[in-house]
């Protein structure tokens, strides 16, 4: 018994590539069947094109570097956590999990490791709009921030650094969102800028400790450096 048109349309709409023998036979069984197949083919072509998004050129290289990079073999980038009542809690938890069993050979190692761990995630969540307690977080590490820079903070959380707690910030600037990893107790020696994963990290000495500013290659460093240097100050120094 041949397949009726209604059943044929149901299968065509669910599984146009079906290899069911009755379905295949029905495709040629009449003009309305052929018409339905032609329409389905046209729609599938558009559907396929619509779903075919561009893939970052460096994706495969980043993935294959996973097994080549010794840092990744030491521990997971970050441990998955449920996004709880606020994004702040989530990212703080990510940071704490990421810290476990970690050591770094240099500040450059630390910055790359940290950014790879949760940089993209934090950047993406920076405009989530959740409330956060900026002042309390800063006070936890004995730091104050200028009112002007506070307005540009899209996200902030405490994070591990080579020498105790620090800050992981995303600043919304006229150059776009910038990631800042502030290390209040880490002094820089002879360091150079870092290039990794298509990003550029500038290492800066601050009034207290140091910071890494991570953004695109065309970052205008000079202005950011001045603003950061003046905006992040130890509480005792600015009181």
């Amino acid at each position: 018994m041949s397949m009726n048109y209604s059943e044929f349309r149901r299968i065509l709409g669910a599984d146009p590539q079906s290899q069911d023998s009755e379905f295949l036979a029905a495709r040629e069984s009449g003009p309305e069947f052929k018409q339905a197949v032609a329409e389905a083919r046209a729609f599938e072509q558009k559907l396929k094109t619509a779903l075919q998004l561009d893939v970052p050129a460096d994706l495969n290289a980043d993935i294959t570097s996973i097994c080549a990079h010794p840092l990744h073999q030491r521990a997971s980038w970050w441990r998955p956590v449920a996004v709880a009542a606020s994004v702040l809690i989530t990212v703080a938890a990510i940071g704490m999990a990421w810290k476990m069993n970690r050591t770094w050979d240099s500040v450059e190692d630390y910055v790359m490791d940290h950014y790879r761990a949760d940089g993209a995630k934090v950047l993406a969540l920076a405009n989530a709009g959740d409330a956060f307690k900026l002042r309390e977080i800063l006070a936890d590490i004995g730091i104050e921030m200028s009112a002007k820079m506070a307005q540009s903070v899209g996200f902030i959380t405490l994070c591990p650094t080579p020498d105790g707690d620090g800050l992981h910030l995303v600043l919304n600037t006229d150059q776009g969102p910038l990631t800042v990893i502030y290390m209040p107790e880490t002094r820089l020696g002879d360091v150079e800028d870092i290039h990794f994963n298509g990003m550029h990290a500038h290492l800066l000495s601050m009034q207290s400790g140091s910071a890494a500013v991570i953004g695109s290659e065309d970052l205008q460093l000079e202005r950011i450096y001045t603003e950061l240097y003046e905006a992040l100050t130890p509480i005792s120094a600015s009181a």
Partner: protein, 175 residues
Amino acid sequence: MSNDTERHARFNQLATAYSTDLYRYAMWICGNDALAKDLVQETFLRAWKALDNLKDSGAAKSWLITILRREFARTFERKVPKFTDVDDVVVPEKSELEPDDRAEVVLLRQQIRKLAPKYREPLLMQVVLGYSCQEISDQLGITKSAVMTQLFRAREQLKGRLQKDGVTGNVHELF
């Protein structure tokens, strides 16, 4: 060839074969380029660590998708990020697509985003990953019949919304 070299080669084969599909799938379920990339990288990191558990290379794709879906669920189970980047992806300039067809593709993307996850996900698995209905059934843990119904409804909703939006009526505002 040493075990370590073989392991690296095996991993690289997986990355080459599946990273593109996984990224597209991740992009469509989370809608954000940075997060999609992060999800795929985390998936492959976990795959690297557990590579020795993968006995059947024919099951690699399902294995990776399972890892990715779990990772997504774990990370965003209470907060689904807003779609931000899909709209920015340019529709490819394929010669077979007429301008009206390209406009339809743009609208189609918008409507795919609006599909309920229970309709969108099987459709992604079928079209992006090339899964059969049985494979989707296995992956989602629902009956094949339910998969067929969801796929049918997904397509019907997309077609209906395209007709409702009026391809010639709204498209021009997008350019």
